[in-house]
Each structure stands twice: as C-alpha cells, then as structure tokens.
C-alpha cells in the first residue's frame, strides 16, 4: 500500500511537471516557468484534496533523493565551460565572492533587524544559490528547505524580470559583467535571461552560477556563524 502510494505521488509529480513544461514551451512567459506553475498546481491540489505534505512526501522523498546527483551533474556544464572559467577566473571569483557576501549579509541584516526569527533569517541566506544546493545549505544551517526554495525563486525572478532595468539603472556595461551578475544573483533564471545579452553573457552566467554554488556553500556557514555567535 505504501509503495503504491509512493509510486502514485511520484507519477503525479512527473505528470504535472511535464504538462507545465509543455505549457511553458508553447507560450514562453516567465510566469509560466514549470518550477513555479508545477509547484503551485501540486500545492493547490494537495490543499484541495486535504492531503497533508507528509503524505505527499511518501512519494516526494524519492524525487528529493535525486537532488544530490543533480548537484553533482553541474560539474558537466562547468567542465564544458572550463576555458571560459580559466580565462576569467579573477573576475568570476572576485565578483561572486563580493556579491555573495553583500547579498547574504544584506538579507540577514534586513530580516534580523525587522524582527524575523532565526529560521526565516537562515532560510534567506542562500537565496541566490541554485535551488538544489541552496536547500541543502539551508537545511544544514537550521533553516527551512521549502522556505529557502521559494526565496530562491523570488531571487531568480528579481533578476529575470528586473534584470534589464537593473542593468540600465546601475550602468552595467560589459557582457561579462551582466552575465556574472545575473548568474550570481539569480542562478538558472538569471542565466536564461542572460541569453538575451549574447553568448559571452550566457557562458559567464552559467559559470558564475556554478561557482556561486560552490563558493556559497563555503561562505554561507561562515556568514551564519558570524551572525549568530
């Protein structure tokens, strides 16, 4: 019975995702991104049919288990872009480290000073890091993975929708600067937006996204430690 239930929820998850992916393929609107619409549909259906999250996770945990190898698989695009990485190593490393520190500290300080409890503050910390890595960092630090996952999406949309305005307003001039900025602040959603600024932007953004995940998983615990010790 439990196995059937698990298989059912896995299937439910996959079917909804594939339907939403088709919808996105047809209309290409950022609000129709499958990560957003599929999660929304799943939540609405679970709430509508009074199914608890724990029940859904009997199947969901099996999909969750693939997050580990999903993070490992990021080594492949990084390897393919290794020449871009070596040629721009100082700019990519310097940019992501400074950006991550400012991003993490600003988020933590604003949330803490507005009186949000520790679990929210720690869940905000890895917001600019790609979801699969962010939820692990958040979980390790004592944040809430699902809050972090939603926060990561908000950070992604900020870059994907607000990106063009930010670039103009703050005079970001080079294709590389745009790419590294979008990849560090808005991970995969930012990298998708970087497509519009040329090939150099996309490859820099995808490299910055992965470097940001690696650097962020080292810097994140450090920032949390400074904040709460």
């Amino acid at each position: 019975m439990r196995i059937l239930l698990a298989a059912g929820f896995v299937l439910f998850n996959v079917v909804i995702y594939l339907m939403m992916a088709l919808l996105y393929k047809r209309y290409r609107l950022p609000v129709l991104l499958p990560a957003l619409t599929a999660t929304f549909t799943v939540v609405v259906l679970l709430l509508g049919f009074h199914i608890s999250y724990d029940t859904y996770m009997i199947g969901g945990q099996w999909i969750n288990r693939l997050l580990g190898p999903a993070v490992v698989s990021l080594a492949y695009p990084l390897y393919k872009q290794r020449n871009v990485l070596w040629e721009n190593l100082p700019a990519v490393l310097g940019g992501t480290i400074t950006g991550l520190l400012v991003g993490m500290l600003s988020g933590l300080l604003m949330a803490a000073s507005l009186g949000f409890s520790k679990i929210y503050v720690l869940s905000i910390l890895p917001k600019s890091i790609t979801t699969a890595v962010a939820i692990q960092i958040s979980g390790n630090l004592g944040g809430d993975s699902s809050l972090t996952s939603v926060f990561v999406m908000i950070a992604g949309f900020t870059g994907a929708i607000g990106g063009p305005y930010i670039i103009k307003l703050f005079r970001i001039r080079s294709e590389s600067g745009i790419g590294i900025g979008l990849g560090t602040a808005s991970h995969a959603l930012g990298t998708a937006k970087a497509l519009e600024y040329g090939e150099q932007s996309v490859s820099m953004s995808s490299v910055a996204m992965t470097v940001c995940a690696i650097v962020g998983s080292i810097v994140g615990p450090l920032v949390a430690w400074i904040m709460y010790h």
Binding site: I16, Y17, P34, A35, A38, T39, V43, Y53, Y56, G60, N64, L66, G68, P69, A70, V71, V72, S73, A75, L78, K80, R82, A91, G95, T98, G99, V102, G103, S106, G107, M110, I124, K127, T131, A132, Q136, D144, S146, L147, S149, V150, M153, A155, T158, G162, F170, I172, R173, G177, I180, G181, L182, T184, A185, S186, A188, A208, A213, I214, S217
Partner: protein, 138 residues
Amino acid sequence: MKIIRVIAEVGLLYVFYLIGDYLQKLLHLPVPGSIVGLLLLFVLLLLRIVPVKLIENGSSFILAYLPMFFIPATAGIMNHLDIFSGRGLLLIAILVVSSVLTMVVTAHSSEWIAGLSASRSSRRPYRARGIREKGKEA
C-alpha cells in the same frame, strides 16, 4: 538503449554524491556532500581520469528536468503560506532588494577586476619580450 545508458550514468552520478557525502562526514567539512561530489567529479574530468563520455548523457538528462526535482521540496511551502500575507510580504521585499544589491555589486566588482587584469595583460607582452631577450643574452 539510450535509456539504459542514461540510468547507468545517473547511477554513477549518484555514486559520486555518496562518495562526496562520505568524505564530508569523514572530514567534518562545512560544505554539503553533493558539492564535494561535484568538485571531485570536476577534478577527475579535468585530469581525464573520468572521461566526459561517461557522464554526458546522465548529466544532460538531469539538468534538462532539473526543476522537476525541486517540486517536492518547494511544495513544503504549503505549511508556511503565511509568508504571502501581512508581515511575510516584508520578506519578499527584503529578497528583492538584497537580490538587486547582489547583482549590482557582483557585476561592478567583476568588471573592475576584469579591467585591472586587462590593463595588466596589455603590459604583459612588453615585459615578456624583455625577459625572453635577457634569456637569449645569457
């Protein structure tokens, strides 16, 4: 046939994840085990110990369907729906402001660093020639 290849390669990626997780626990690293696995695979690819062909199909498959793997974790938000109302909206504002800041600081500091190394490398050929000539004299 391709499906079997993909499954086998995903299995291999899973093994890297397990090794990363094991190393993380063994050495008490502050970094998640999956990141240790990523770095390990990246280094082995660079050293050509693991040929890229061995993980190409599996990685592309996982990355193509990546958002699907986030759904269960993200759906947990159904227990925190309060963040979309009242004071929770402040959190969203904080996230937007902090993300804008991240993007601006990252872009400008990387442009500044790129500018520094560009002006250094434009001087480099001159100096390099000098060194080579000195070498010839000796």
